[in-house]
């Protein structure tokens, strides 16, 4: 699972109010190269929740991202770091943890399992 996906997810069980990004507990992280596409990255930059991306990258071992996203002009070195964090870090095994309820969503073979149990719907 890449951070682009992680950034979109939340815990949606009954009773959880905040619907905020999940904390990552990483067990196995691998790096996979992806082609660099600045247009795509700029389009994504506007949609990403920056703090969640920085925290997520940190839990996967990458600390190069700046704490705040730059303004409108984003230069190439920044885009390269953004690209690496967003698309090239892969969580193969681990879990996504809801900060509010503690519920863990497992990630196996790179696929997060967001399915809810019977009473959580």
């Amino acid at each position: 699972m890449r951070l682009i996906m992680h950034n979109m997810l939340t815990c949606n069980i009954k009773g959880v109010i905040n619907k905020s990004p999940l904390r990552i507990e990483a067990e196995k992280v691998i790096k996979k190269e992806v082609d660099f596409n600045p247009d795509f990255l700029r389009h994504m930059l506007a949609k990403i929740e920056w703090k969640a991306l920085v925290d997520g990258a940190r839990s996967m071992g990458y600390t190069e991202l700046p704490v705040h996203a730059p303004g409108i002009e984003s230069d190439e070195p920044f885009l390269r770091k953004f690209h690496h964090a967003l698309l090239e870090l892969n969580l193969e095994e681990g879990s996504l943890v809801c900060q509010e309820s503690g519920r863990k969503f497992p990630v196996n073979k790179g696929v997060p399992n967001m399915l809810l149990h019977e009473k959580e719907v």
């Binding site: 699972m1 890449r2 682009i4 996906m5 950034n7 979109m8 997810l9 939340t10 815990c11 949606n12 905040n18 619907k19 905020s20 990004p21 992806v34 082609d35 596409n37 247009d39 795509f40 389009h43 994504m44 949609k47 929740e49 969640a52 698309l87 196996n108 073979k109 790179g110 696929v111 997060p112 399992n113 967001m114 399915l115 809810l116 149990h117 019977e118 009473k119 719907v121």
Partner: protein, 474 residues
């Protein structure tokens, strides 16, 4: 500029929408004007279309699946004398640049609905000596490709009206479809298949309807084996998919036979994400919206494969209360799922698209329809945020078809839209059984024939008033 657009004679409903979608992708901002050749029926493979430039025509043709060729028309007529007059009156300034002595050319003779012998073809090519070709002939790889197209009046067949009249066209080829994509990507040689994997030709058509392209993010909420995403990836898009069945998405049939290996097979970049989730209770964080450029999918119609959503069958019907799984059994527990009616499935899809598509983003999906009454008005799903721009029918059997709907997001996702969706979601939940029956087409497709149709087959003189209309719409 008017171009002669000649289509492959198949999937008739899909031809013009594909060109219109690609025209938008390549920069046409007004809707296209089409014209039919004199006395031709709309089913004809020959259409005239107005495009802003030759470059756009070439781009559309190259990327399309159904355009056999786009031509700059030099002349037309019902006989060779008329053709000669027509070509001679076509301005020299448009012809001479392509007839220069340092260029190579080829003239091909093509027919529709008839066959010509090699000698007859040669005779027709030689009749064009009034065109001042100065270059050399190169049959393998010419600079300019000219086509002479001849057809006679076709007959009525199987209840269908005649589609072409006697006509001869002569034009310079501007572009043509790369059909070589099809044998490369055909399902026959796909590594990982599922029962409802989308056929390669149709998957490319869907990707064209959605304008998948480099720099865009395309999502399939019913990804299955990824057959639709493969074609979007081939056109350069980044892809993402989800499915409720974890076996398909995570495991496949083994480490070398899964969704990832389908992309590896063609050297395409793998999806940026695959996840297992329920579209009925999606896990999107708050504030997330307008992130996908296109959503392309084939939702389960409930005929050959039914949809599933969270909640066991008994829980949804209220027979049993929602239960908590004991701690020791929780890891590896596969939550039960229940039937997901087409109506609710499509409602959730439209809501997902309304929220997650960028403005002017495209939602492309198949919707099943019963072919019972002749010309009965079918009601397609609607949503205040969307404008329906294309409807293309593919006949599946005498009882039902599926239509490919293309919708463009024209209205922003507002609090009202969100609230309406939330109320509808509750309505589906409260009245689970009622909604299961609504729009259930499985029974209509598989019910045994009624008596009246048995009488029909016995009596040879009985003429079926509804044209079968099967052939080219399949």
């Amino acid at each position: 500029m008017w171009f002669l657009c000649v289509f492959y004679h198949r999937l008739l409903d899909f031809r013009k929408p594909e060109v219109e979608a690609l025209a938008e992708l390549f920069g046409e901002d007004e809707s296209l004007q089409w014209r039919l050749p004199e006395h031709h029926h709309n089913d004809t493979p020959f259409h005239f279309v107005q495009l802003s430039s030759e470059e756009i025509a070439q781009n559309i043709a190259k990327r399309s699946i159904l355009v056999k060729g786009m031509y700059e028309l030099w002349g037309e007529g019902t006989c060779y004398e008329e053709l000669k007059e027509s070509i001679q009156s076509f301005p020299d300034s448009r012809k001479l640049p392509f007839l220069t002595s340092d260029s190579t050319f080829r003239i091909s003779v093509e027919t529709f609905g008839k066959a010509l012998t090699f000698d007859e073809q040669k005779e027709r090519i030689h009749s064009l000596t009034y065109i001042p070709f100065e270059g050399k002939v190169n049959l393998k790889n010419p600079d300019h490709n000219f086509f002479l197209m001849e057809m006679d009046e076709s007959e009525e067949s199987n209840g269908l009206p005649p589609i072409v009249q006697r006509r001869i066209f002569f034009g310079r080829e501007v572009g043509f479809a790369d059909r070589k994509l099809l044998p490369t990507f055909q399902l026959k040689s796909r590594t990982y298949l599922g029962p409802t994997a989308m056929d390669a030709e149709m998957a490319f058509l869907m990707a064209n309807q959605a304008n998948a392209a480099s720099g865009k993010l395309v999502y399939d909420p019913f990804v299955g084996t990824g057959s639709i995403l493969v074609s979007a990836a081939r056109f350069g898009a980044m892809t993402m998919g989800a499915d409720i069945d974890i076996r398909v998405v995570r495991d496949g049939r083994g480490p070398d036979c899964n969704v990832w290996s389908n992309f590896k097979q063609y050297g395409l970049p793998a999806p940026v994400a695959l996840l297992r989730m329920d579209n009925n209770v999606p896990p999107w964080r708050s504030g997330l919206k307008e992130i996908f450029d296109a959503i392309i999918c084939d939702p389960p119609y409930g005929v050959r494969a039914g949809g599933r959503k969270s909640g066991g069958r008994k829980i949804l019907r209220g027979t049993v209360d929602p239960y908590t799984v004991p701690e020791d059994k929780r890891t590896g527990h596969i939550p039960s799922t229940g039937a997901y009616s087409l109506v609710e499935c499509v409602h959730d899809l439209l809501h997902l698209a309304a929220r997650m598509l960028v403005m002017k983003g495209r939602l492309v999906f198949f919707f099943p329809v019963l072919r019972d009454e002749c010309g009965s008005e079918v009601k397609f799903p609607e949503h205040p945020c969307f404008k329906l721009v294309a409807v293309s029918e593919q006949i599946l059997s005498s009882r039902y078809s599926r239509v490919l709907l293309t919708m463009v997001k024209v209205g922003p996702y507002s609090d009202e839209v969100e609230e309406a969706a939330r109320l509808m979601h509750l309505e589906f939940r409260e009245n689970h059984l009622k909604w299961l029956e609504e729009g259930n087409i499985h029974s209509s497709v598989f019910k045994p024939s009624t008596d009246s149709s048995q009488i029909r087959t016995e009596s040879k003189t009985f003429k079926d008033p509804k044209p079968k209309y099967r052939g080219k719409y399949v």
